[in-house]
Symmetry: D2
Subunit: 303 residues, 4 copies
């Protein structure tokens, strides 16, 4: 397979869709981005990275960071996390407080905001600096030491983050936060506001496609832990469109409102696509189309 030609083809195929959908603009920092950008990168499990379009341009990774904070917690032996968060699809919009209230403060899964706040809290307890731990992990795995937080975006999230504050206070009211609400929110907003390119993210997530083996050849996660993160991504990684994503794309994936999506072909590669305009379900419209095309053309699907 000529991967480079394939990615160029896909970039061309989705070009007519660019700009459809809507760029997230709930905070000023995110809304200012050009909607018609598109990038795709593929990091092969056995080495080699391919890319097309704006594949080296950094963007706000947002919820994609949730995969890495979860991986860090699990790799450090934090199995207690599964007493604090379920791993079931939520069935409702990603920022819903309803389920939290119905289920006594235990979030549905680690990829909805409430669940990611709990993961961040545990990482904070384990490391004393959850935001820094995620940043260092991402730098190491992507082998890019320049990756960092866009502080304007982080501050903007904090200033407009009433919904996340409400969620954190709800978790605290159920005794499901160990650290102060403000600390957890600060570190959460920090790792969501990291800026990375498709290349960076494909490399950073490459361990997911090779049974947990990281950039340095070190086993970051056991094969079993690694499979389980992929399972959670497949069932819960794309907000309340996880069923649709599994149906169309057929790969574990995690999206962010910045327009990025990473997806994993176990044993083969990790893919990252990016295009800022989102569908109603909050996932990159052109990004999902590109992944659909990718799996159709390669036949690579977990099913």
């Amino acid at each position: 397979m000529d991967m480079q030609a394939l990615l160029d083809d896909i970039a061309e195929a989705v070009a007519p869709k660019l700009g459809e959908g809507r760029v997230a603009d709930y905070i000023p920092g995110l809304g200012r981005v050009d909607a018609e950008q598109f990038g795709i990168a593929v990091a092969m499990a056995d080495g080699g990275v391919y890319g097309s379009g704006d594949w080296r341009r950094p963007f706000s990774i947002q919820s994609i960071s949730k995969v890495f904070s979860l991986a860090l917690v699990l790799s450090s032996g934090g199995v207690r996390i599964w007493q604090r968060v379920f791993r079931e699809p939520s069935g409702t919009p990603f920022n819903s407080l309803v389920q939290l209230e119905h289920e006594n403060g235990i979030p549905r899964n680690p990829f909805i905001n409430a669940g990611a706040l709990v993961v961040t809290d545990q990482l904070q307890t384990m490391t004393g600096d959850a935001g820094g731990a995620v940043r260092d992990f991402l730098r190491r795995e992507s082998e890019n030491p320049t990756i960092g937080v866009n502080q304007t975006v982080a501050d903007s999230e904090a200033a407009h983050g009433h919904r996340n504050s409400a969620m954190a206070h709800m978790l605290a009211s159920y005794d499901n936060l160990d650290n102060p609400v403000e600390t957890v929110l600060e570190h959460y907003f920090s790792h969501c506001a990291m800026e990375m390119s498709c290349q960076d993210l494909a490399l950073a997530g490459r361990f997911l496609s090779r049974n947990g083996v990281g950039a340095s050849g070190r086993q970051l996660l056991t094969p079993s832990q690694n499979k389980r993160i992929n399972a959670v991504m497949l069932t819960c990684g794309t907000y309340d469109a996880a069923g649709e994503f599994a149906y169309r794309v057929g790969l574990p994936g995690k999206s962010g409102v910045g327009g990025g999506i990473i997806a994993v072909v176990p044993g083969r590669c990790t893919i990252c696509v990016w295009s800022p305009a989102l569908s109603l379900s909050g996932n990159s419209l052109a990004g999902v189309a590109a992944l659909d095309e990718f799996t159709t053309r390669t036949g690579w699907s977990v099913f």
Copy 2:
């Protein structure tokens, strides 16, 4: 791999769990079964069937029939079904009317009862005999012409099926049934009350592990349709424990309250386990444990 030895090992490994959990007893016909039975069968994609324990003893397939009615509708070109039912996880107990009411009569997915009623309705419109169509399909694919409905169970479901009747009337109130409520319920209860063994079900579902190619070598579903059914099974196949099942077992699967579960290893095999006692989530307790053991031992997982 010595498949026979593996299945015998698994049967032994789960033996201590038999009888834990609770046999479904909402209708007399189901409750009378001996809780400590266990069977497992594996139909290899390239031929050959293996089994251990009570693998040839028929049981009530219940919701497992929903996979086959969906496959029949899709294989007959019934794509309109996706305008009548979503394919998202439900996030709530399998018989919930709440989501139906919140979402204007469109069931969350084809594997919750409301969704399966809609699928049965469409199959009825397409064939004039939905129950018979499912039965004939199962006989053909399992190559067992003696498979049939346990009419006592079917009648008992009808007599005690107020919840399903409520659901069917709700669908009708949203104009999401083409046939009379009574007709749809009759055919639905009929295909749920089929009795089959683990061997029968592993063979009947073998096409799911070989890109849609059926017993006779005929392409029942396109590879793409087949992958998509597997995707729906993985995200929605085990009631509101689909996330947990993906996490522990890592395979597309569909369970029934009779205690059976089928699971698919794409490209390799279809598995059927059976043990009547259920966990709180409504899935066979020993059955899930056996599948967990199977994927741990073989390393076969879609992730």
Copy 3:
């Protein structure tokens, strides 16, 4: 106070509103009525009836019948009813199945459809003919022996009543119906399809304004029972607009989708207004306006 002049004034005052809103048309029988009709009648507690507009023209009483079936059950010693139905406002649209499911088959109050089905069921058990019992009660209290059921409307409700059928099956699934679903629905549709005029209803409900004393001077309900029915009317009588009705009108009241509303001024009178076009909350738009005017002009309010 010149009651006749007051009623004529009110009829004139609401005239500009006639036709605003929307006539219920979920069944053919109801939709065919002229939207611009209006009637008001007042039956004084100490005798005398006044009326204006179309006050002697019969209309479909619909949910107003729920007051009388409840009164009949309570007057016959059926206090067990309060173990089968709560008396709290529902907080959601009147035909919601959600609360029924969340609260184990106990309807929120006797005036939502689910609750009225339970009341009808109990009346059926007590009398053997719930529909006939309500009809006889209404004839006796209004002293109008010609009152009867519009069978076309009753049949039409049955034919289009999937939502009510769903509700009845749900109640049965929670063992909260003693009689067969079909029997309960038939008698429920029957008493809802009674046709009465404003005069008939004001007279039939006069006992509510005089501590339970009926047309013949007989004590139908104890004063305490009577007050309690008024309390349930005030908190639950106008679907999910009960708070708004209490705020604007300040009287116990019960509305029906046929456009009628009865309201009670304890110790003084029972009022019935009618105009077919409904507001979004399902209450007669001109009817509520007329009652608002009535309480403003008379100063008669329970507060």
Copy 4:
């Protein structure tokens, strides 16, 4: 009627119930109170106060303050409040976030916590010191200049008030707060932490029983505004037991978790009862029993 003898009788009648139920202990300040206390006071509309038991002992008024903050907003022309809060019963526990989310940040009524936060916010905008405005109003109407806030309780609420913080952030996320979240919470906790006796509260709420005329003879509210506050109290004043309270007691009432309840007999008197132990619905158990006895014995009910 010998009111003094009646109140003494009631105090005696409820004595066996004292200590049943459970004292609110979600904050240390509230939990420390002796459960077996009971007081009752009646302020006659035409002058005169009667009391029995611990009727002059101050307690934490908690949610009863919501009546006075609402009255203050309405008396100052703040009708805009009805665009920011509904006046329908909530149908769910008093601190629920669910309805807030389903209904776009408009609380169900001014007496649930979310609604009272909005009222406090508006009063803050109108006066610059919402807590002080409520305090001054209560001092003036009760003619007791020593009434004040228990700052330990107020601080304790703030320290443990994650649920209220979550609610305030939710309101802010829907742009339904004008002032900073922290300011609104501080003033809200302040007026809830006022300490008053049954006598103080009966006097402070006397205007509700005399068409809005306050202690000095000044018209605090128009008769129409006054009736409407009573209507909201009747439909929404006792959490999700408003229907039950209307049924048993038959008066507009407002309770607090400190164990106090005020109730209004329009044209006659305002009553305040207090006993710290609460029923499951969050209302004073002995307090409701005392009011039930009071209305049974006097025959005073709005129905």
